[in-house]
Symmetry: C2
Subunit: 202 residues, 2 copies
Amino acid sequence: MQENKKFIIPHRGKITKQDRRRLKGHKSFILWFTGLSGSGKSTIAHAVEEKLFEMGVHTYVLDGDNIRTGLNKDLGFSAEDREENIRRIGEVAKLFVDAGIVVLSAFISPYRKDRQFVRNLVEKDEFVEIYVKCPLEVCELRDVKGLYKKARQGIIKNFTGIDDPYEEPENPEIVLETDRETIEECVEKIINYLAQNNYLEV
Amino acid sequence: MQENKKFIIPHRGKITKQDRRRLKGHKSFILWFTGLSGSGKSTIAHAVEEKLFEMGVHTYVLDGDNIRTGLNKDLGFSAEDREENIRRIGEVAKLFVDAGIVVLSAFISPYRKDRQFVRNLVEKDEFVEIYVKCPLEVCELRDVKGLYKKARQGIIKNFTGIDDPYEEPENPEIVLETDRETIEECVEKIINYLAQNNYLEV
């Protein structure tokens, strides 16, 4: 997708989002994965990144691994801190979109109003909400990180789905059902959506 | 995960910083501009971005325009808030470096320990400190935004150089003297430094 030959040198002045998109050969936007802990958000986000990368798309994944250990390490899991957590992630995602990057964000983001805040931060065609839907019982059975067990024991407080609410998206662009769809099917669904809606062109 | 064997971890693994750098065709790093208000940080950063962009380098500028109005709009100018301001900018710059982008950061960043904090966040060859040196008198004469006047009148408090200290870099990689060098000379100096130190290769 790197079309340097076709590349036209811009007029003197600041380089714009549109310039950066042309250099990369595609639009930039946020793929916002939301869902319960254990639903598969981060796994699918990385699988989609891999697929996009193979297609020459410039991507970056924001998830707990790089955000909770860095930018947001001062935040906990109270409602207030969750709101600030999502606010900052939204602002960072907006910077990446401005930089011409396809940013994949994988956080529980349980509150509707916080997701709406991020949607409003960017242009209409720059936010794709992906509901990674999976019944609580299945997530709890998976319990990859052992967090549900600790939440049930009361060791972890304010755990989404246990003693903190998860507000389902009302009109997500994409719904994945990870208790019945494979990773490959989920990835395909997302790539098809992007292709059909011209997200992968300049 | 046992109860749903279809849901497996992808074979290839996560896309790495090195992968993203290869896609872009160059290393990723931070150009950290520091200096007084009015010294020319943002102007030079944007001019360097333009030059790098013409060379096909994937860049992004972080400055007051996109940070103080977004991610850090909750922060003021107390010593504490300045520290948190630079901490967050450093963490965001690190994410951009991980994404394979050359990030140009243009903030006064007056305290030595805060700049050192950012330097320590990334690898040794990922941080280039650029001291945009200009005598206070010259910055104050320029007074592009009228801030020095307001600081002298006491309308703005904690203004760097007036009633808040600026700690000069001790060992910056590059020093620019904007009271005697043109923008073009400053840009050339930076591009030459990057070329000579193999920053523009993979």
